[in-house]
Each structure stands twice: as structure tokens, then as C-alpha cells.
């Protein structure tokens, strides 16, 4: 399911790049396997693109129930995020903290803030400038999966690093 979703995002990103930049490669656009090495700028295959960050690097980490501790797996994703951010210095990021629906609304807002902060602290620890990072919590207001069992809850207990162009104000 997750892989399929990634595939769809990739396809969509390729489609978008093709539509919005019809002349990007001039007369060479029939030869994608040539000088460009198959990389369509802005697509998920372009390592400098937000799409690449989302899919290849991984834009999110997941948390245990009522916890904001970063797992080993989460730390490895965040290290990759920090690497990407250090080589793509024109991007800033808002880290969104989320909770699953098993909790009261205001507590979950605070819990989401804790999760976003844990991510921010880790990225700063890996050398990302604090000036490029902001946090926000959505508590349980923005689930991405809507079933009411652990398969969905585990995907909703997340912190997502959302890129934006330019330094955050």
C-alpha cells in the first residue's frame, strides 16, 4: 500500500514536471537516457527536488502511543533529512506534529508539539540551522489514515517535515 502510494506520487511528479517544463531540455528531450542520466529536474528522481525529499529521503517519522521519543529508524530518516537540507540550502521546513485519535483534543495538540520539537531538535543537532526550521502541531485534526485501529493510528502518530522554498520568516 505504502509502496503503491509512493509510486503514484512519483508518477504525478513526473507528469507535472513534463507538463510545466515542456522545453526544459530543448531539442534533447527525446534523449532522457543521455546527458541527464534519466533525471527529470523537479521530479522524485532529481535528488535536489522536494519530491525526492518526500519519497527517497522520507519526509516523516512515526511515534509510539503517547510518546515523542525518536526510534532508531526515525533517527536514521532524520539524519538523511539533515543531510539533504545541508546540501539543499535554499529550502526551509515546517515540521508538523500529529497524533492519532486516541486522546483528548488539547492534550493531542500538546503531544503533537512535543513530536515536532523532537524532530526539530534532532535536525538542529545534525547541523541544520534553527533559522530554517519551524514547528506546528495539528494534534488529531489531520489524520492521513481514517480507520480506527492500530494500522491507521501508527501512520497518524507522525511528524512530517514539509519543505518550503526560501528561509522561513
Amino acid at each position: 500500500m505504502k509502496l503503491l502510494a509512493k509510486g503514484l506520487i512519483l508518477t504525478a511528479a513526473l507528469g507535472l514536471a513534463a507538463c510545466s517544463n515542456p522545453d526544459r531540455f530543448g531539442g534533447n528531450n527525446v534523449n532522457l537516457g543521455g546527458a541527464n542520466g534519466g533525471i527529470v529536474p523537479g521530479s522524485a528522481s532529481d535528488p535536489t527536488s522536494p519530491a525526492f525529499f518526500q519519497t527517497a529521503v522520507g519526509d516523516r517519522v512515526l511515534f509510539a502511543v503517547d510518546q515523542a521519543t525518536l526510534s532508531v529508524e526515525a533517527q536514521s530518516v532524520l539524519s538523511a533529512q539533515a543531510n539533504w537540507l545541508s546540501t539543499n540550502g535554499s529550502y526551509s521546513a515546517i515540521i508538523e506534529g500529529h497524533a492519532d485519535e486516541q486522546g483528548t483534543r488539547e492534550y493531542n495538540l500538546a503531544l503533537g508539539a512535543r513530536r515536532a520539537q523532537a524532530v526539530q531538535d534532532y535536525l538542529i543537532g545534525q547541523g541544520v540551522s534553527p533559522a530554517r526550521l519551524k514547528t506546528i502541531s495539528y494534534g488529531k485534526e489531520r489524520p492521513i489514515q481514517v480507520c480506527s485501529d492500530e494500522t491507521c493510528y501508527s501512520q497518524n502518530r507522525r511528524a512530517v517535515t514539509v519543505l518550503s522554498a526560501g528561509l522561513s520568516g
Binding site: 486516541q102 483528548t104 488539547e106 492534550y107 495538540l109 503531544l111 526539530q120 480506527s148
Partner: protein
């Protein structure tokens, strides 16, 4: 804009007194099991030409208010032996005793331009006498439901000895859209779901509104600026403004103090959420807690001297009470599970809360020292209790399970009886009950 109405109240003259033949008509609503008290409410008498439709409708609203409490049972008019054809005529008590009507409510409505007057008398049928004096209320015709609620409040109050709660309103979050794309806006309505008015659009997430002590203003949390911030909204003008916050990433969970000026709220800074207080102008911000744990969902005691709030300083969400001026919080919840969203009763005697245990949610009440915990509800997700103005009924939000899950408002007596859905036009969450309207 908002049915601004002046309700003039006046006493009517005494009806002919009769000797009481047994104890006074009375419902003790603290008793464990209650047989609803049978009452009759004939159509109100229309005393002027234009008052006919309202006379019928107002009697229906009064009947619905009383019956909705679960403490009263209306006797259908088909059982009536005699009627009330004139407000001043003597009551044929024998005819009402014969159908076992213990209480009889007679009323009359007159209209004069846009002004209407409703008057009523309450009779203790078996005592053969009037209970209290007749009352009359005057107001504009568009406020007719409020006038009917006032009649019902007076009847409820005389029979139970408790304050009423029918002439009150509920602010809440109206929800539309699928669970993955929920749209939220603030809405206000009468306690029974009538007269819905939307206060914000659905462009920004809004959460957890609360009334000022007089019901004229509302504090709530909105993402309007892109980040969670506190807003104050004037109910009459629907004008709103963002409250300045001292620092931090996120401000939420605002509540008015009983003085109508002090605001307590949660402020998140560096991922850590603490309680603060300030004046509603934003002046005098002062930190109330300073701990690495989550402190949120505060609620003032009615006398303004203490606050109850939730904190996970022990490792899980629990309830604490502390003096408003600061000081060591005292934990009051010790049962199994997690406790949140404490709300102090307007009577000062109880704290309502949300409890999570074994993957179920409950609304419960406990005494302010944490003793005598009682759970009133159980479901997949019940949360966010709010008190009726008389401290006898609690409203809360219940969300159903799964992808099609929807949130609705429910009310329940603090006895645990009379659980029922509150009618709303769509999904609804985060209810807050107003004080009784003046």
C-alpha cells in the same frame, strides 16, 4: 444582530388560594430512580388576534424542555377532560386529578406589533392550588423560543428547587466533510439545537470554544494565522481579535476566569506546554506552571481561587488542582487509565472529566478532592464535558468509530440517566454551555 431582546418579567396577581391537602409538589432530582412527574400543558390561550400560532408553539417548547429532562412526563391532550379556555378562569382540579396530572401549566400569549407577552401559572393539581405566583415575560416575537424556555425554567425551578437551564446557548465546533478532510467552524445555538448561527467560516481549524461568565464573549483556538493562536469573539457583533501571546510557538486551551477578564491558557514553547494567565487585553502575562510535562485543559473554580487542569507529569495524563496564584499542584485522579479535560461545575461541588481506559472513553464526575468518581458514559470516543448552568446536566461530544466516523453532541444527567443526542445540523464537537441568559 443576535435576537437582542429585552425580556421583561413581572409577577401576576395571586390566583385564588386553596388549602394544601398533601405535601407540596416536588421532585428531588438527586434521588436514584425517578418516576417522571406527569404534567399537563394545554395549548396556551391566544389573547390577541395574531398570537394564535405562537400560543401553540410556545406551549410545545415548554413541554419539550420539561419532558427532555427525563424528570417529567407530558400527558397527551387527547386524555384531557377539560381545557383552559381563558387564562383567568378557575381551574377544574377534579378533571386534572382524574387523568393523574400532578402539575398543570396554563399560559396565555398576546401580541402587540412585534412585542409579545406570555404569562403562565403553575398548579399543584392534587393540592388544588397554584405553585408560586403567575409570571409574565415580554419580548420581541423573534425571541419567542427564549420566552418559552423562561417559562419552562420557572416551572422546572419551582418543582425541583434547582436552577433551570433551558434559556441557555451552546457554542460548539460544527463539522462537515470526510474524516480525512474535516472542515470546522464555530457555531452557536440554543441549548436544544434551535437557532443555529455560524460564527466563523471553515477556512481555518477552530477548536474548543468557551463562553465568558456572562455569555457575551467566546474564547477559542484557531489556525487562522497559520499557527494555533487564541481569539476572542464578541457574540453580538461576531467581531473577533487575536490575543497577543508573550512568546512561544502555539497558544491554545483558553478559558475565562469568573471575573470575565482573566484568561488562563496553554502556551507551547520549544515543544513544552505550560499554563499561563493574562488579562484578556493581553497584558500581565504570567506563567503558572513550569515543568517539562504537558499542562493544559485548565478550568477555574467558580470562586476563581483555584484551577483544575491536566498534566502528564506523573507519566500519564492526570488531573491536578492548584491555587490560581501558583503553588504546588495536588493530584486528584488516581483511578485506572488517563484523565483529561477537567471542568469545574458551576455549583463548585464536582469536576467533570474525560477518562480513557482499556481503549474506551468515558465522561465522568468526581468531587473536587478526587473522591467519589463516577463514570456516566462509555463509548469508542466520548470527550470534552461542559456543564449546564445549574450543574445537573453535562453535554459532551461523541465520535463514532472508523473511516465514516462522525462527531455528535450528547447530554447526560450527572446521575448517568437521560443520555440523549442533542440535535445539530451536521457533525458537532467541542460543546461549551453558556450561563443562563439574563
Amino acid at each position: 444582530m443576535l435576537r437582542a431582546m429585552t425580556l421583561a418579567l413581572s409577577l401576576l396577581g395571586f390566583a385564588a388560594p386553596a388549602m394544601a391537602q398533601n405535601g407540596p409538589l416536588r421532585i428531588e432530582i438527586t434521588e436514584g430512580v425517578i418516576e417522571p412527574l406527569p404534567f399537563a400543558i394545554p395549548d396556551f390561550v391566544a389573547e390577541t388576534g395574531g398570537a394564535g400560532p405562537l400560543a401553540l408553539e410556545m406551549a410545545r417548547v415548554v413541554a419539550a424542555d420539561l419532558q427532555g429532562t427525563g424528570l417529567f412526563r407530558e400527558i397527551p391532550s387527547s386524555a384531557f377532560i377539560s381545557g383552559i379556555s381563558s387564562f383567568g378562569a378557575p381551574v377544574q382540579f377534579a378533571d386534572w386529578r382524574a387523568i393523574n396530572a400532578q402539575a398543570l401549566i396554563s399560559g396565555a400569549v398576546s401580541a402587540n406589533g412585534k412585542q409579545i407577552t406570555v404569562k403562565f401559572r403553575l398548579y399543584d393539581v392534587f393540592a388544588g392550588q397554584e405553585m408560586g405566583s403567575g409570571l409574565q415575560f415580554q419580548g420581541t416575537a423573534d425571541g419567542w423560543r427564549r420566552m418559552a424556555h423562561k417559562v419552562a425554567d420557572a416551572v422546572y425551578s419551582r418543582i425541583t428547587g434547582e436552577g433551570g437551564y433551558f434559556d441557555s446557548r451552546v457554542v460548539h465546533v460544527a463539522e462537515t466533510g470526510s474524516k480525512a478532510d474535516r472542515k470546522k467552524r464555530l457555531a452557536i445555538m440554543d441549548y436544544d439545537g434551535a437557532n443555529v448561527q455560524y460564527l466563523t467560516d471553515s477556512n481555518a481549524i477552530v477548536l474548543a470554544p468557551r463562553f465568558s461568565p456572562t455569555g457575551d464573549r467566546i474564547l477559542y483556538t484557531s489556525y487562522e494565522s497559520g499557527f494555533p493562536r487564541i481569539y476572542a469573539l464578541d457574540v453580538a457583533s461576531v467581531g473577533k481579535r487575536e490575543l497577543p501571546i508573550p512568546q512561544g510557538d502555539m497558544a491554545f486551551a483558553p478559558r475565562f476566569g469568573p471575573d470575565g477578564r482573566t484568561v488562563i491558557f496553554s502556551l507551547t514553547n520549544g515543544g513544552n506546554t505550560d499554563l499561563w494567565r493574562m488579562d484578556v487585553t493581553g497584558a500581565g502575562a504570567q506563567r503558572l506552571t513550569d515543568a517539562p510535562s504537558i499542562e493544559t485543559a485548565p478550568s477555574f473554580s467558580p470562586d476563581g481561587s483555584q484551577i483544575v487542569f491536566e498534566s502528564d507529569r506523573s507519566g500519564s495524563q492526570q488531573l491536578y488542582v492548584m491555587p490560581v496564584g501558583g503553588g504546588e499542584p495536588k493530584r486528584i485522579s488516581f483511578g485506572q487509565g488517563r484523565y483529561g479535560t477537567p471542568v469545574w461545575s458551576p455549583r463548585g461541588d464536582l469536576i467533570a472529566f474525560t477518562k480513557q481506559n482499556n481503549a474506551r472513553f468515558h465522561i465522568g464526575v468526581m468531587r473536587v478532592d478526587g473522591s467519589e468518581e463516577r463514570l456516566l458514559t462509555a463509548s469508542f470516543l466520548d470527550e470534552g464535558p461542559t456543564w449546564a448552568p445549574n450543574g445537573r446536566v453535562i453535554m459532551f461530544a461523541r465520535e463514532t468509530q472508523g473511516a465514516g466516523g462522525e462527531s455528535s453532541l450528547y447530554s447526560v444527567d450527572i446521575s448517568g440517566r437521560n443520555l440523549k443526542r442533542v440535535p445539530t445540523t451536521g457533525g458537532a464537537s467541542d460543546p461549551a454551555w453558556s450561563p443562563l441568559q439574563p
